[in-house]
Symmetry: C5
């Protein structure tokens, strides 16, 4: 559970609600059906138009990471690679064979398999880097879905506000409706800017950080697997991997 | 048929129309001939001025992909390369000769031809990468046409709105025309921002995704053709290509 | 003659004039001497301050390309290289000597000269790539002059509008002047945004496309000259160059 | 103590307070609880949502550098490397062993350790560059926390202002409250834009400069350690390092 | 003397003053002490907070280049390198020794010294490229000081304007002060946008151009020194350097 994500989201909404109430406003004046329809419908529409289906599916699956991040521990991965290195030293590369099945990280499983197959170090590196590039590519594209929502929401909030103002201007004859009309029009701006800056853009950035960490972990795995394939001793393997861990 | 494109475009326009009607406005107040002339004419004018003719033609041909995307299946392409690999193994590279003609993808056809001609692997790679770079270059430039429309439309919408406001300000003496005049002026903003954010920019991004997928498919083809040229066995060829497929 | 440039520029100005007239406004209300002085003077001043003299001269010479583009045909250049390749095959590299003088493209002339001088292929590549980098560098900097005009014009249009509004606000006592004053102030915005989006930015982008095409043509020439220097047969030279041509 | 940071921060706040007082305004009219809650709460919320916990901790630790920068002297580091080079020349690499413990810079300590261990120059370079890349990566991500605060603050200031204006518009019936209401609404904009431009963005840029200097110092260390490992004489080591120092 | 810088700066300010006077305004209404304090103090404060002291000093020294540019002539430098090449040919590399002292360009002096010392071509290249990278890095960072002033000025102009409007809104009871109050508030915007777009950003761009030209000159020097070190004949040295000169 990513506590920061929960706290951040809650803090932002509580702050805005508290500010609104402290100013003497009603939260109900921030509820506006037509503005909601325009901002949510328009933003989602724009993003559906621009996103290929496989990227959309991936983004939806990936979005859960904001609250339940995948297990990414460079330290644990170094321990695991050290264990493999020790097994390879004692039992040879074939000793790693029965670990492949149980490995939960598919990238690590593939790396182990290449090692067990006795591929040349350079072939292992080439295969794993092709795989890593393709993985990163899909994962970053999926984070772009949320960046896209965050990019379109404010401008579509402006469309909503301008539509509201057009409505007000056409009924300028009745001044008593002027204030509430402008107020209602402005709610679309709040929806658009808030959706983008309090939800979508931070969420896209958190997902990008996670994808970046996964890539680093994969790079550590490549480095470790190559070191084992080159027959380096476990202590040297560890020394090569320690550099990846920085706080 | 790209269902997401249709759904996205429809959702955005339905949402805005619904919002407008729920607010009590008329859709007819969003129709404004002069604003339409300024925004559409100005935006298209700016893009024609900046685009070379061959890129314009390519962009128009390419735009259909938003709704009818080209067939890009990495899996099917791996199967095809595997088939070629098996034929090359059994019948030699010349066995691939009669496949060249029937190959629908021109990049794959050229790759096959180079293979059949018995070129060196490094020459094949160089020739195919030159071709891929030139292809990507033209295809990305064509997607820029839509990004250009999306870039100019909002600022030209502002020109339209300011022209409308100038007109209103010059006739300030008659207050009854003030409201409708401002309302009409604002319609140009809706056209500009809407055209950009609900149509042109998402469309440019969808096309960029498709061009990106085509490039990946071409890279997979290069990798596969090189593996065949190096005489690798079909199982190893497949292993090298599987890394490209990620969901 | 680049028809698209003429049509694009004409379309944009006709659209805005037509919109203004359809709305019932007068074109004369878009003419405003002080606004013109501020926007044009301020924008040109900012660009003169930022541009070194040789880049300014180059940009002025280069600007004609928007309407009369240089002759850039990859196909014709391939034909020319093929001809050189055939001559080199029949008469040796010295057979190319009398072509150097008549060659209109100075980059091609230099490439031919290096070939005739009997330089090593790697030295030819190094010399031509240094030359190409320096050429591209100057040519792109010159396109930046127009991008600079397009970047400053809208903000200086805002300065003009704010100066106009300051003037209006200082004379708020006479309400009959309020409307026309605001109208006049807004004209500066139209000048700034229009100059940028209908003229300068599209023009900068067209010039960048042309410079990009010239670079591609130079890269094709380098590839072809190297192939001739390596003594490849004309059919192989052509195969290496065909990949550059994509529509 | 970084005097420029203190002077810069003080100057900006004094200038704004002085401007406000010179104009005849009260500083108290810039104090507004609800606006403060919205801008600070919303901005911090957005940044917590987007930042992984280890990066947050690192950013907090790193923020002290704005006022108490770490000791980064290229000249002193060259002197230190020269000393190592002289020791290595006289006593061999093992003579450096007892320096490793006392070395305050952990990167330099690791570099020394690799030297003492007798690793090959290329292995030292590979290990130190992996370490440097990972260090830079974490340090730059931490500076992004402040860039993130600076990015969200103005837009959340706009949310605060629009919420205030909605409140004003809903109470348009009482004109005496109009002015103070709008004034209060605008305070949120001042908070957002000021927080970003007077504090967060300059602070992020100062931190980026410091991280950049640290990286240069690490690159100098790598270059020096490699030169010692290659057995170059101290005068040549110094010549290779002097190029890093520029004023 | 850089005439374009003087003309550009003068043209911009004359244009704005002329526009203001033509519109019937007084230049005195553009003078506003509080706005000046806020915009200048806030902008300089933000930049001091973000800039390390050595970069600040360098930027101040470098700013003179806008009006008195350093002597950067590729042609003269080629002539100088040719002279060195001829001396090296006749008298050997040691013949260059007494030129080192008198060489005004410190980068050229260092290059000559390396040549006289008899370093290997690859060592000379490595040493000079390290030096060039460090030089460019410091010089570009210094240009960023002016880009920073240009980036903060408009947003701090907005802070000044909003502070002015807050003051106006709090005194809405007296309508006669409304106009002049808003006018005064707007002056801060003119200061911010004008300072950025008419002074700081163009100045930053001019400095970047000069730094870029210096880098090109240094690259030409590296190329020439390497050619001399490799013992190439003067005519070939010149041929390698001519490619750098493009108009």
């Amino acid at each position: 559970m990513d506590i920061l994500s929960v706290v951040g989201l809650a803090l932002a909404f509580v702050a805005i609600a508290a500010g609104q109430i402290l100013e003497g406003g009603h939260l109900s004046s921030l509820l506006n059906g037509p503005a909601f329809a325009i901002v949510i419908g328009g933003t989602i529409g724009a993003v559906l138009l621009q996103t290929p289906l496989p990227i959309l599916k991936r983004a939806l699956r990936q979005s859960i990471w904001v609250f339940v991040p995948p297990n990414i521990s460079l330290e644990q991965t170094i321990d695991k690679v050290m264990e493999w290195s020790n097994i390879a030293r004692k039992e040879g590369l074939l000793g790693l064979e029965n670990l492949t099945e149980g490995e939960p990280n598919p990238f690590a499983a593939k790396a182990l398999q290449l090692l067990v197959d006795g591929s040349e170090p350079e072939d292992i590196r080439h295969a794993l880097e092709t795989e890593l590039t393709a993985r990163e590519d899909v994962a970053y594209q999926a984070t772009q879905l949320f960046a896209g929502l965050g990019g379109y929401a404010p401008t579509i909030g402006i469309i909503g506000a301008v539509l509201g103002l057009i409505h007000v201007m056409e009924n300028l004859a009745d001044p008593s409706k002027l204030g509430p009309g402008i107020a209602a029009a402005f709610v679309a701006t709040v929806y658009g800017v808030g959706l983008a800056n309090l939800v979508c853009l931070p969420l896209a950035n958190k997902l990008k950080s996670i994808v970046h960490q996964q890539s680093q972990l994969s790079e550590l795995l490549i480095e470790g697997i190559i070191a084992i394939a080159q027959g380096e001793n476990p202590r040297k393997v560890e020394a090569r991997l320690r550099g990846f861990v920085q706080h």
